[in-house]
């Protein structure tokens, strides 16, 4: 029955008259000069309630500690196989003021309760960002699971300043995304939000309520 549907659908489509050839217009997105990109990225993501902190790359774990102070974060999810996760574990080791680091080191089936109820924040890296729309690019994978940037109420993302591209078009092209797509590729442009209730904006519907971006300079 399934096979019949496939062949009947394709046959019906192929019986239709041919379209006139479609001319593709020469469209290019705006170009954002390199010195402008970080500003543009910051402006856009802040307008969507993202929080941006430029930090010196050597001292980012310490800076993160002070940024997170007074937010009541007791348990922070990290990816132990990821360089960022390792660096944080090292830097915060033995610090009684630091949140407890929870490693995402087993599959979700074994950690579900912890992931859904037991963490206050999660830290991930990024695969760059897009200035035009104020979007982080994430490529979750074996080293950094997908749910990290989604389940915790606070998502902390670390972004290299020199990895900010101007547009999605240029980033996609220069990195040849079409050659090999990962399981999941994400653009994140702010904390979770909705305007379904009388068009009033509310944050943290299902995804994180807060998005904190550390830009490493």
């Amino acid at each position: 029955m399934v096979k019949n549907a496939r062949s009947s659908i394709l046959a019906r489509l192929r019986m239709a008259p041919e379209s006139v050839g479609v001319i593709q217009p020469d469209w290019r997105p705006a170009v954002i000069a390199e010195p402008e990109r970080q500003n543009r990225f910051t402006t856009m993501i802040e307008a969507a309630h993202g929080e941006v902190h430029p930090v010196e790359s050597q001292v980012w774990p310490q800076r993160l500690l002070s940024i997170l102070a007074n937010r009541g974060i007791r348990r922070l999810l990290i990816a132990p196989a990821h360089p960022l996760g390792r660096a944080l574990a090292e830097a915060w080791a033995g610090n009684p003021d630091a949140p407890e680091l929870v490693p995402y080191d087993r599959c979700v089936e074994e950690m579900k309760d912890t992931l859904v109820h037991g963490i206050d924040a999660a830290l991930t890296g990024t695969a760059g960002a897009i200035a035009e729309t104020g979007s982080l690019v994430l490529r979750p994978g074996a080293d950094e699971p997908r749910l990290m940037s989604l389940l915790a109420p606070i998502h902390i993302a670390v972004l290299e300043a020199n990895a900010i591209h101007d547009t999605l078009t240029s980033m996609m092209a220069s990195q040849h995304w079409n050659r090999a797509m990962p399981t999941n590729l994400l653009l994140i442009s702010g904390p979770s939000k909705t305007a379904d209730i009388e068009q009033t904006l509310a944050y943290g519907v299902h995804g994180p309520k807060e998005l904190i971006v550390l830009i490493m300079e």
């Binding site: 489509l13 041919e18 979007s135 994978g141 997908r146 749910l147 078009t169 999941n184 943290g204």
Partner: protein, 470 residues
């Protein structure tokens, strides 16, 4: 002549609902303003619309080939692809997949195609719970209603109505009109469902043939959760949603969120290309894609009507429609309301069932002006009207029943093709028009005075003033 039809009657009811009208007016005004603010440069906007239209037209021109390519690449990635000619087939496929997994609880990301399939109802009959996770869809699910807009499903609901729904349906939820509190309550309830769900079901915004990638856009995060947390993910889409290349996505992303809700981009753009790969710790272990026809191949078959399938479901057309803005989505009694609904529903459901929608337009063109992929909606509406008068079989279930109307137009043609008859008509209208009984103008005079015919026609006066015949 169309007798008072379902749509006209429902519209009349909606028009007298002051609260509904106020809700829609406010919502539509807001959405129009927001969209306008995102497109300050007219030339840039038109260039982008041209690009969007070309991308979609290109994809449609190669549709069968692209669908095969999509299937091949998805399959190579580990996504299982299914084809469904009808809604019944689609529902059966989904039931079978869920059955194999002994799934009892399905968490849904937003999918208009699943509405088209009446999927929730179908699953309920098999004792499978399908819970909507998009806040707007969740709210109307609590209310037992259908969406009134394709992007913002509960536009027709007031804050107090929503607060009441939450208080009545969520355990330990006190009545509150605080939006943040309501949002937090929904988050809390749905979180448990996400965690407990056996399967997640989503729609697809764009399916990329080149890479076998499903692109889903959203603001809330429920789409990502539905497609990441449960071990089984089923995506449903109409066959027209495929695009050729990954590079087609950025222009479409530059158009859709800005046209829909006036956002430069949605909070999340979620590109899924495979199930969980070895070494990965989360993500569904099985991903299925159901390609639904349900009449789209018939729309495709007619070159005048094919452009209907360009639609990227942004909702801009209905946001700008003076008819939709006054009667709201439910008056259409259709899965897809507004201008896109007026051209799509008669084609999917047939002219007999939904043909009246094609007449529910002044052809003002506000929709075509904002459509990001330049669908010529007024032209398609006229074409559907032609089909209902002179069925050619291009649209399902054409059934002309307006004998009186055809007679009137035949007489009109006779008068307007004979200069003598036309001048006779003018003489009659000017000398006797104002003597005609008022009841002939009943519909016109609901809120207007009747037209006042002149004492002598322009033909007569032009001649007597010396504006000769050449």
């Amino acid at each position: 002549m169309n007798s008072p039809t379902g749509f006209a009657q429902r519209a009349a009811v909606a028009l007298s609902d002051k609260s509904l009208r106020a809700n829609f007016r406010r919502a539509m005004d807001g959405l129009m303003e927001k969209r306008k603010a995102q497109f300050p440069d007219r030339q840039a906007l038109e260039a982008l619309r041209d690009k969007g239209a070309a991308i979609r037209a290109n994809a449609l021109s190669k549709l069968p080939d692209l669908l095969e390519r999509l299937e091949a690449n998805c399959t190579a990635n580990g996504i299982q692809v299914h084809w469904a000619a009808t809604v019944a087939e689609g529902n059966a496929i989904i039931s079978e997949i869920l059955g194999k997994h002994h799934a009892r609880l399905v968490i849904k990301g937003k999918s208009m195609v699943s509405e088209e399939m009446h999927l929730n109802h179908h699953l309920q009959q098999q004792a499978i719970d399908a819970i909507e996770s998009d806040l707007g869809e969740y709210i109307i699910q609590l209310a037992g209603e259908t969406p009134s807009h394709i992007v913002m499903p509960c536009i027709h609901k007031n804050l107090d109505q929503i607060a009441r729904l939450f208080a009545d349906n969520i355990p330990d939820q006190a009545y509150t009109e605080d939006v943040d509190a309501l949002t937090a309550a929904a988050r809390r309830v749905l979180r448990e469902r996400f965690a407990a769900a056996d399967a997640g079901l989503s729609g697809v915004n764009f399916a990329v043939a080149e890479t076998g990638t499903l692109v889903l856009i959203e603001n809330e995060g429920n789409g990502r959760l539905s497609t990441t947390l449960p071990s089984l993910h089923i995506a449903v889409t109409g066959i027209e949603k495929v695009v050729e290349s990954l590079s087609d996505i950025p222009p479409l992303l530059a158009l859709l969120p800005r046209s829909a809700t006036g956002q430069p981009i949605t909070t999340y753009v979620n590109m899924i290309s495979s199930p969980r790969r070895p070494g990965e710790k989360d993500g569904p272990t099985e991903v299925h894609l159901v390609l639904l026809d349900n009449g789209r191949s018939k729309v495709y078959a007619d070159p005048h009507l094919r452009d209907t399938l360009r639609c990227i479901r942004c909702g801009a057309c209905m946001n700008h429609c003076p008819v939709y803005g006054r009667v709201g989505g439910h008056a259409y009694d259709a899965v897809y309301p507004g201008p896109i609904g007026k051209i799509l529903m008669p084609q999917l459901d047939g002219l007999e069932a939904k043909g009246d929608l094609a007449h529910a337009s002044t052809l003002c063109g506000a929709c075509a002006e904002v459509c990001p992929v330049k669908i010529p909606i007024p032209d398609i509406l006229v074409h559907l009207r032609e089909e209902s008068v002179n069925p050619t079989g291009a649209v399902a279930h054409s059934h002309f029943s307006g004998t009186l109307e055809r007679t009137i137009w035949s007489m009109w043609t006779m008068v307007n093709t004979s200069p003598k008859l036309y001048r006779l008509f003018l003489w009659g209208a000017t000398r006797f028009g104002n003597l005609m009984p008022g009841r002939l103008f009943k519909r016109w005079t609901l809120v207007r005075t009747r037209p006042q015919f002149a004492r002598a026609s322009l033909h007569e006066q032009a001649a007597s003033e010396g504006f000769g015949d050449g």
